[in-house]
Symmetry: C2
Subunit: 90 residues, 2 copies
């Protein structure tokens, strides 16, 4: 399996964009310790969704799918942990 | 190309979860006409990202990738239109 095929470069570029777009919310939550605007149900649904995408990436043996969705799992697990840590403040 | 392979069912399930998780923000913006919390830069980055994922889906001929990211393009274009329509109110 070659990593830098045309398809993979497009997929990695796509993954970088969608990963960058997730960061402001995470940074905001960590800075403000304010999670009242977060829906824990939706974070849960999103973690299930992106975990399934990681599994799908392994089934199809596609590195861009695995990488970008693994990053998304980490971001959303961090948001979930923040929600539990900070919810008493809200 | 068969649609209901095991891989596609996993991918479609993943896509349904990540699509559902996008809806509350869209519904909130349409209901409240309040877009002050939205970053137009990040919506732009996200539209570029999910459009590249759609292109990647076509390159790889993968229906779950195409469907779920096309949905995401529509949601984020709607958010962008809302941002332009409602920004004077903010």
């Amino acid at each position: 399996m070659e990593l830098f095929t045309y398809e993979n470069i497009i997929g990695i570029a796509a993954g970088i964009c969608t990963s960058i777009a997730m960061l402001p919310q995470l940074i905001k939550v960590i800075k403000t310790k304010e999670t009242a605007d977060l829906s824990v149900t939706m974070i849960g649904v999103l973690i299930v969704g992106v975990s399934l995408w990681v599994y799908y990436g392994f089934l199809q043996n596609e590195v861009p799918i695995i990488l970008s969705n693994s990053f998304s799992v980490v971001v959303n697990l961090t948001l979930l942990i923040c929600w539990f840590l900070f919810r008493k403040k809200s």
